[in-house]
Structure formats: C-alpha cells, structure tokens
Symmetry: C2
Subunit: 324 residues, 2 copies
C-alpha cells in the first residue's frame, strides 16, 4: 500500500492498476476527440484525451480519489488538507465529499473564481494565501497544524502520481498505438503519471512536456539537470505555476524526451483554436501542449500524438480573447 | 433507393440503416456526456449526445452525407445546392468536399460569421439573401436555375431525415434504456429522424421538441393541428428560425409527445450552464432542450433523458453573456 512517504522510484505499474480499480467508480473514462482541421494544421494525427470532462473538470480527480479512497478509516475521519492553485483543491474536495470526510484547502487569492466556487460547492473549506510558493507553504503549515487532516500534496505524492497514471492507461486502450504523448507541466504530477504508465506499457512512446515561457522552471531544470524553482511566476496558465519536487523530478529527469515552451499569446491562440475546432471548453493550461505542437511542427509531423486536455474550469465571463 | 420525392410516411428503419452504413466513414460516432451537477439541478438523469463534436460541428453532416453519397455519378457531377441558416450549409459543403463535387449555398447575410467561414473552408460557394423565408426561397430559385445542382433541402428531404435518424440509433446503443429524448426543433429534421428511429426501435421512449418562444411556429402548429409558418422570426437560436414542411410535419404530428418553449434569457442561461458544467462549446440552438427541461422539471423528474446537442458553431468573440 502506498503512503505519502513512498518514493517515486518505488512506484510500479501495479500501483497504477490498483489506483485504477480504486478510483473507477468515482471518475469518468473520458473520451478522445480528434479533428481533421487540427491534423491538417499540425501535420500530425492528434488524439485529445478530454480530462476536462471529469465531473470536477480536471484530471486531478484521479490522484485525489486515489489518495482519499486509499486512506484507512482512522485517517479518513480526520479528513484531508492541501494547497493548490485550483484544480487539485476542487478535485480533493470532490473526492472528500464522495467519501463524506472534511477537506481543507489553501488557495491563492488570485485563483480563478470558477475554481473557488467549485471547491465550495463540494464542501471544501478555503483559506486564502498570497500567490507565491512561500506564502502558500506558510499558510498551509498553519492550517494543517490546526485541522490535523492528512496532507495530500497536489503532485509530490506517490498516491497522486499513481492516480494520474491511470489517464495514460486509458489513452493507450483508446488508440491503436501512439508515437508521442504531450502533456502540460507545472509541478509534474500528470507528466510523472504519464511516464510511469508509458515507460512500462509502451516504452516506445516519447513523452513531451509543454510549459509556459513565463513559468519555465521545469524547462530550465530539465536543461540544467537539477530542480530550479521560481517563487511566483506569472502566466495565464494558472495551473502551471508551481515548481517540480523530488518525486516528479525523478520522472521528468529519467523519462521525458523534451520540454517545449510557448508564449502567452501562443497559449491563448491555441486555446481559442481548440475551443473553435474541438468545440470543448478547456482552460489555458490545457492549451499549452497544442501551442507547443504548433510551434515545433517538425517534432510531431506525421506522428500519432496523444494530447492531454488537463482541465476545463474557466471563468466564462473572463475569456482571454474578450478581455478589454 | 430514396430520392427527394419520397414522402415521409414511406421512410422505414431500413432507410435509416442504409444511411448509417453509407455515412459511417464520413461522420464521428459522437460520445455521450453527463454531469452529476446537471442531474442534481434537473432531478433527471441526462445523457447529452454531442453532435457538436462532428467535424463540421453539427448533426447535419449525417443528412448531408447521406444525400451526397447517395447520388449517382451523373447527378453527383452537377453538384449540390441548398439554402440554410448555417449548419446545413456547412455540412453539405463538408459532404460535397469529401466527394469532390461542387456545392452552392444560399445563406442569410445575418448568419454567424463562424458558419460562413466554415462553408468557405469546405469550398462551398455562398450567395447571401435577406433573413426571411421569402427572400431565401427567391434567391435560391435563381441560384439553382443557374447552377443545376441537386437540391438538398435542409430538412424537408427524406434522404436528410434518414441521415439524421442515425443519431438516435447511436444514442440507443450508447445507453441502457431511455424514457425520453429531447431535441431542438426548427424545420424538424432532427426531430423527424429521432421519431423515425425511436418509433421503430424503442416506441416506449417519449420524444419532446424544444423551441424558442420567439420562433414558436412548431409549437403553435402542434397545438393547432396544421402547419403555421412565420416569415422572419427573431431568436438567438439561429438554427431554429425555419418553419415545418410536409415531411417533417408528418413526424411531428404523429410521433412527438409535446413541444416546450423557452425564452431568450432562459436559452442563454442554459447555454452558459452547459458550457460551465459539461465543458463543451455548444450553440444557442443546442441549449433550448436544457432550457425547457429546467423550465418543466415535472415532466422529466426521475427519468432517463437523452438530450441532443445539435451543434457547436459559435462566434467565440460574440458570446451572448459577454455582449455589451
């Protein structure tokens, strides 16, 4: 049984499979979408795995449900607690509400209103912090000391990584072979889960990470060979501001083929293109993979590429292309 | 073999099945989505059939592909022609481009820019008319006389109805039984196809049509027992402005359980709710069913309800809740 102290290099395919069995009643097996238009535009064959169609609107329900439903009764009674820019907060709240246990979350006061609303809808209790890693960790320490809930880190937790890994297992089942998978990278939870599954089940598939230029700490870490963390990066891709940690660095440094970055304008343009041609509501973070594919067509041309659409929790009143 | 002169009462399940085999290489088997949130909100169990995920963004590719790929070689060479508020125009252009034949379309000058752009992207040739039935029919007569293309009416054509009927066949396969299906009604093509399939395969399923209050000619026709046509109704649900014709009236008058209407505000509110909780891009016409379900909860409470999301071609720069 995994606990928060398991290290990433001990994670196995069996952990992913156990996670999948545990969370299946609580998640959607999300569909793949594709578009002739986007294939023509990129020269690749793209398969979009729509995790925005999870009930809570993000892939993070996978890791959150694995952590929450893996707790023993005594630990569950004390509830769970976390800090998150949004989707992990609302996913953990969703998971906790399904198990009927309390959930405390620390969120930056600048987090999208849609995400705060969703946390509260699932019964999560929000404490706000400033939008920096330093503030988030300080406020969280106080909240956890007060509530005693089990800390479920948004990504640097093997239970969470094993949960996120189930996404690529479905992606493999839903396609007839892939050459590459592209996913956004913030703290690296989705990328780590993707690497865990693919390195075991389909090691021929290249894993590419996609990151905003304005929060390119994972890119710089990857090139430098050690973790570089920025305290308070600023990007419209609000889910991707957090730094790598040791468990996700393990997967990024050992299994990722490359990391590509995209500018804010490129992210917004890719987001609008996806809304228009896939006809899905996705958040800016989810558009970073398509932005990097459009920017580096030579890497993906002629290939069968899985693209993880990580979430769809957007303030519909504040779309980036209609903002004044 | 169906031609444009077959009458609706001669359509059989075999025509639907033949259509399905013919169009399968050219359409997507679109997924069903659901949402705990929307189920809680309505008290029903809703299954949304996402025809907005067709390549051309609307269910109308089903009927258009059935008509285009059913033409013999001699007729196909002369191409096809139609008038349409948008989705049939671009779907027929899409179908014609896949067969490599010309397509002429008459569209109201007020049709959404996104729909005009898509027609041109598929090689369709647009002639604009005024936004009234009278103008549309007059301009079309001129265009057809000039081009000689086979007229594929947007809905009053048995080939088109048989094509639209394939949508409900998939919906039945994708669910374990339904109590009701709700679809928008404009000219009645989707509703007629739905009735054709369900009256044969699952006659216990009630068919409800959903219509804008400001274009409620089908509602008034249904209550009066004969077709009532408005010349130029005005509603944000731009796909639903056209009147019933004899072939669709056959299905509406014989098989529809009831028609419900919704106001413009109710349509926009339902649209935004669906974008937020299903995380899909759907056009205003597609939100009318959800608007009527929210307005008449007593009809749907406790029932398993299929809801047809008919299309997703929207001007993303002009969303109804952000308009100044």
């Amino acid at each position: 049984m995994l606990d928060a102290l398991t290290t990433a290099d001990c994670l196995t395919l069996a952990d992913m499979r156990e996670a999948h069995d545990r969370i299946r009643p609580h998640i959607n097996r999300t569909p793949l979408l594709r578009s002739d238009y986007l294939d023509d535009l990129t020269g690749a064959r793209l398969f979009f795995k729509c995790e925005n169609f999870q009930e809570a609107g993000a892939f993070k329900v996978r890791g959150a449900c694995n952590a929450v439903f893996g707790l023993n009764e005594a630990a569950a009674k004390r509830g769970v607690a976390t800090h998150s820019s949004g989707n992990h907060a609302l996913s953990l709240s969703y998971a906790a509400s399904r198990r009927g246990i309390p959930c405390n979350v620390v969120m930056p006061r600048t987090a999208p209103q849609a995400k705060k609303d969703a946390v509260r809808r699932y019964g999560g209790i929000i404490t706000e912090c400033e939008p920096s890693t330093t503030s988030r960790e300080a406020v969280f320490a106080e909240v956890q000391a007060r509530t005693g809930g089990e800390f479920v880190h948004p990504y640097n937790d093997p239970r969470v990584i094993a949960g996120q890994a189930t996404c690529s297992a479905e992606l493999l089942e839903q396609t007839d072979g892939l050459d590459a998978v592209v996913a956004p990278i913030g703290g690296g939870g989705m990328i780590s889960g993707t690497c865990l599954t693919l390195s075991n089940l389909a090691p021929e598939v290249q894993v590419y990470a996609a990151e905003p230029e304005q929060a390119d700490d994972a890119y710089r870490s990857f090139k430098a060979g050690h973790i570089i963390a920025d305290d308070a990066p600023n990007t419209i891709a609000d889910g991707l501001k957090v730094p790598l940690k040791e468990n996700t660095w393990h997967f990024v440094s050992n299994f990722v083929s490359d990391i590509h970055t995209a500018s804010e304008d490129e992210i917004v343009a890719a987001m609008k293109t996806a809304w228009k041609h896939l006809r899905i509501v996705m958040e800016p973070s989810s558009a970073v993979p398509l932005a990097t594919i459009l920017k580096h067509p030579e890497v993906f041309k002629g290939k069968r590429v899985g693209v993880i659409i990580t979430g769809g929790n957007v303030d519909l009143d504040k779309l980036p292309w209609t903002r004044g």
